[in-house]
Symmetry: C2
Subunit: 420 residues, 2 copies
Amino acid sequence: MKRNAFYAQSGGVTAVINATACGVIETARRRRDRIGKVLAGRNGILGALHEDLIDTSAEPKSAIAALKHTPGGAFGSARYKLKGLEQNRAEYERLIEVFRAHDIGYFFYNGGNDSMDTAHKVSQLAKSMKLPITCIGIPKTVDNDLPITDNCPGFGSVAKYIAVSTREAALDVASMARTSTRVFILEVMGRHAGWIAAAAGLAGEGPLEAPHIILFPEVPFDEETFLARVRQTVDRCEYCVIVVSEGVRYPDGRFLAEAGTRDAFGHAQLGGVASSIAALVKDRLNLKYHYAIADYLQRSARHIASKVDVEQAYAVGKAAVELALAGKNAVMPTIVRKSDSPYRWEIGHAPLARVANKEKMLPKSYITRDGFGITAACRRYLAPLIHGEDYPPYKNGLPQYVRLRNEPVPRRLAEQFVLK
Amino acid sequence: MKRNAFYAQSGGVTAVINATACGVIETARRRRDRIGKVLAGRNGILGALHEDLIDTSAEPKSAIAALKHTPGGAFGSARYKLKGLEQNRAEYERLIEVFRAHDIGYFFYNGGNDSMDTAHKVSQLAKSMKLPITCIGIPKTVDNDLPITDNCPGFGSVAKYIAVSTREAALDVASMARTSTRVFILEVMGRHAGWIAAAAGLAGEGPLEAPHIILFPEVPFDEETFLARVRQTVDRCEYCVIVVSEGVRYPDGRFLAEAGTRDAFGHAQLGGVASSIAALVKDRLNLKYHYAIADYLQRSARHIASKVDVEQAYAVGKAAVELALAGKNAVMPTIVRKSDSPYRWEIGHAPLARVANKEKMLPKSYITRDGFGITAACRRYLAPLIHGEDYPPYKNGLPQYVRLRNEPVPRRLAEQFVLK
């Protein structure tokens, strides 16, 4: 029996989430015996709720192939978490209604913890309604915080971007330290888990090489210990490179980034842990500083994506379709590490029930005892994830990223759905 | 007659200043009949003043070749401007004394406006003292603000980094705009001239493509016009990408970055034009924003260097030696554009007297009438400078940058020199 598939992207996009879309669509196209069209949600799950679906079969083969090297979310993603089944059953019923109207037998949801939870709930509801809808979650998050899977597609490329950028900026600072900047601060993503900050540690080896200090959300920020370490590093190396996670907190739990900063007009200034650290360095140590905030650049930098990451992102998309066709339901493909060096991995799978709403933090054993660096175990884990380059094609000096047609599927339902 | 050469890097380093060093040293090594050793200043001109010289002849051929793909300043650079001859003649005399002690007949000074002035003054002093020292300035600046030369080595690679990053981040923002960030701000370098900000304009074509707004130091910042344009862009495109030069000013001349921002502790917060713009967008338009500050990442990003830039950086280094050996003195090699498309260029030269202490601003004709974008003429000028990729070698996922031995040359002078 041939059914359509629905694919949606969820949450913050990455440099390789479209490679996963490519894996889903190319694999589905090879199985036209079982899968009709792949319909995508415009702006993620909102597209399903609003019956705003995209017909991916209208895209030429070359455009789908180009997704593999295009960052961002090609169909639009959304920060929208469905509530619990009890709190907003109407949303789940609407999803089911839209899936029915478009003969959708496969639901592929590409996201992080919340999305795995949604996919799981849809599978439960479908089951209780005796509807044959196969639900597969597909892992994606730069935060690398999904459990069971060894790592998450999207993370390897951010990790590579941060490690490369730290190594490069450190060379700049080192050249100038005698007469210019002594302390350089790079702010990276990671609200809860310090995986991205940890990746900066790959840039150097040993305590004399940059980054000299990494500030993790897992380690409460102690001002005096930190300042002493900066001072010591500048005395020893002439300069100090600090990589700070946006989620770093004071011992009382407050984010450094929420230090209540206000400008001259009394406007609240948000989201600047780097500037808080810089002000501290300036005020207490009187050292010249500079800071960079990588922000979206880090998670969209397809130009320096990790080849391993691109391959894994594609592989989980492909595996999602294969698992669905093999009769698996309510599962997520996982990446299983077989060996560190040489790095070998394969695709496994885990029940969504075991993945949903759980966060994998950086283990204690990955952070050095002083709280400012990564251990050899952490390095062993991280190193293979940034292996290999996978450059996009360039024209006139700029990467050629595809823009899809994103043709709408004609609506079949009379009712409009209004979000609560 | 065989004499030694002295080479020094000056001012902010770039992704390709070492490619220039490579051009100087490789060319000098091929002319052992005329040039003895190339000695480099440790930390730029300070190395000459302190007689802290590096013997580049101790570096193997492979290390010198690797300079071509290594960012930062391999010998150390310095932000140190020699004062006028009248104000601090002692410094110039010290330079001459060190040059004499080490039989230096060629002075190659690799920097921006100030450095061209220094090289010029040294040449004048040597002439007045009847000393045979050939002084050649070699252009380098990410700011692209040297006169006469069509463009400056270092700029093309920053331009490429900013154009690529803007294109990538815009895809990210576009995917998420419906439920997340509406306004994304990227802060770029350029205290006086908007060349780097202008380069972001290469990322998109037409007013509907990102960047939607560029803020130049050349255009006084009008809050109301700016806010109206942001509002209009978000209404039309769902999101708005803004690239802002650090040097943007209010009509009264104050930098936006110096808006007197203070944190909760009363610490001054410096260097954040992006956060000023973000606060404005939040307070006046109530739109969700994110901002990135590229800072040193932009000028050290050798991983995404422009091939044209690398070639030109090497070429000016090579030409500097050739000009010196051809008997030219007090000149700077320039890049002469022969045609835009196909892009053709050659090396020329200009007297230091005509280059020193002059800044080339972005011409009015390169900025659109509304002040928020670049014109077709600007695009024609900028486009070829980012052409081509020139990837460094990678190992284990990280670029392999060379670290030189930087062996000191034994001192020959008894006196220590103390900077005033």
